[in-house]
Amino acid sequence: MKHLLDTKELSLADALNLLDTADYMAGVGQGDLLKLPHLQGKTVVNLFFEDSTRTRLSFEAAEKRLSADIINFAAKGSSVSKGESLKDTIQTLAAIKADAVVIRHSASGAPQRLAEAGWIDLPVLNAGDGTHAHPTQALLDAMTLRQFKAQRDRVETRGLTLEGLRVAIVGDILHSRVARSNLWLLNTLGAQVKLVAPPTLLPRYTDSWPAEIYHNLDEALESGVDAVMMLRIQKERMQAAFFPSAEEFTRFWGLTPERFAYLNSLNHETAVLHPGPMNRGLEICSQAADSPRSWVLRQVSNGVAVRMAALYLLMTGGSSQDFYPAA
């Protein structure tokens, strides 16, 4: 693995290597082990061309726990708004010093351009690009789902796949890089993906996607799910006629108290996930968000571990074996 651009190209072995490493990283910062020294003397550039508080903080925490030096570059808007070009920005930062680049950009494909255009020769970590991909989010979701499955089945997480897990991803699939990255990774890990959205919020051509498509959330829930992942909906979408009103969206595609009560009435566990930030009362009700079934805060803490794992593996060429005694 030279870069982490998308989850589509990740093999099962790569994915498990990342997740197993992340499981170890989750223990760093707790107890006696406050930091790891592995990236000491190395510099990570955080290039954020799009507003992001959570992802940026999560990456920074991950970098610090691995003892890396950090250069932060934040440019609201991006080169699309006629500033310095992406090429000049990255070459400038690389000239200062960089051993890896974390990039968030509003343009789909910008991280792949950084990796492949020949501007720099550094590992590139995609921290979210346009409506294309958000691989560390998908990895932290997978890590969370693995913890859920391990807890439910009383097994170890290490080496565990998501075989047999049925995951519904609900909401604005069309504009969601989280949904796209989850689609590929969850499939690679053996989970069954169900996408739930009105036709306006799904791409027109999803025939080749390894997922069941539902336009009705109740039908999707009744079909049997082990986890529901609610996506953030932007209210402004209704101005562009993607749906008539926030109220109608909630009624048909929200995890309402009624739907959450239905899930609670079943005799099997259902995990509730949300990549945040949540619109309480819109796509997810507070009862669900604050319930014991909610894994939302675990997702956040897992995010740091997953990002540590990705940075470690890309920048050192190591593997999860480095942290576990040989069998």
């Binding site: 699309v80 090429k87 789909s108 494909g109 255009a117 346009g130 796209r180 027109r204």
Partner: protein
Amino acid sequence: MPAPTYLIRSASVLGQETADILLEDGKIAAMGPHLEAPGAQVIEAQGLIALPGLVDLHTHLRQPGYEASETVETGSQAAALGGYTAVFAMANSKPVADSAAVVEQVHALGLDSGWVKVQPIGAVTKDLAGQQLADLGEMAASKAQVRVFSDDGMCVWDPAIMRRALEYVKTFDGVIAQHAQEPRLTEGAQMNEGKVSAELGLTGWPAVAEESIIARDVLLADHVGSRLHICHLSTKGSVEILRWAKERGIEVTAEVTPHHLLLTDELVRSYDPVYKVNPPLRTEEDVLALRQAVADGIIDIIGTDHAPHPAESKDCEWACAANGMTGLEQALSIIQMTLVETGYIGWADVARIMSFKPAEIGLASDQGRPLAVGEPANLVLLDPTARRTIVPADQATKGKNNPYRGMEVPGAVKATFYAGHPTVLDGALNSPRREG
């Protein structure tokens, strides 16, 4: 001193019978076996195919205003190297070619260059804004004698403006060349809407945005009895609408670009903006439908949509890159590759779709003429057996945004004669033609 004469020996005329061709005083003076012409410069053309000089109804020469991308001089050099003797220069310069002054400027630059005939296209609406008609009559009556009008790059989306434009240009037998793109259906569009765009998270440019405008415009052309030309047709559905319109007898013609006959949206997976073009690269199914439509005569001509850009317009992320790719210097090779070697058409058809018909649509009377005695000596000699690798840096166009870079293509232009003068000899630029 009399102008030199040229004797082309043993060329295969339109890929068929072999003949010698004598060029004298800008005309084809004689054709036949074993011609004798003392004093003539002899061009050995054994194994070469003679075609009429190519005519491109869709070229962006970028001058005035975007000289960093291309000039009339560099663009027409590229055209000559590609086997062209005439190009129609699109109106989206800066200022826009929406007045007699601008089209006369482009016309004069073309005469000064002398590599090909440069025929300006006039804008349909002022500043391509789609609001008010450009000075259509003034441009028609100018020295540039404009007959083709296009807002290319922008769609004449307002149906009332389109209707009036179609009607108004009937005065001088003009034609409206439409860039068919419904603007509301393509807001923020980055690539073809299909399974690739769904995966890549790039906003889709749906086929229906092209097809709905073509459907509307053929009905308008029918209603007012005007000539309509469809630029760079790119979808299978557009072909079906064209087929219907032609069967109904509507006066509509259509063009396809070389790139839409070869490349597909799968290439966008690289996010390399060299593949960003408008209309976007479509699917394999569309490519095959377009090839068949050329063979069936539903699509009338090849237009290059040669669209040079400076390096920085493509050396960036996909969303901020400019649309367009260069085309003039390899159009004939791509046509040989996609239509001739695949058996869709023969060389006589190539002459029709790349020379006769585009000249007829654009009313360029001295261009697109048969290879026959007494006709203007506009012709190209092609070596169909050559194989060459596309190297953008070696090309005459300023635009290095070439999607075929590194690709091996068939065919090489050996010589281009423009009104009897060799603009290209031995596959390289020779000299421009000077009026005399």
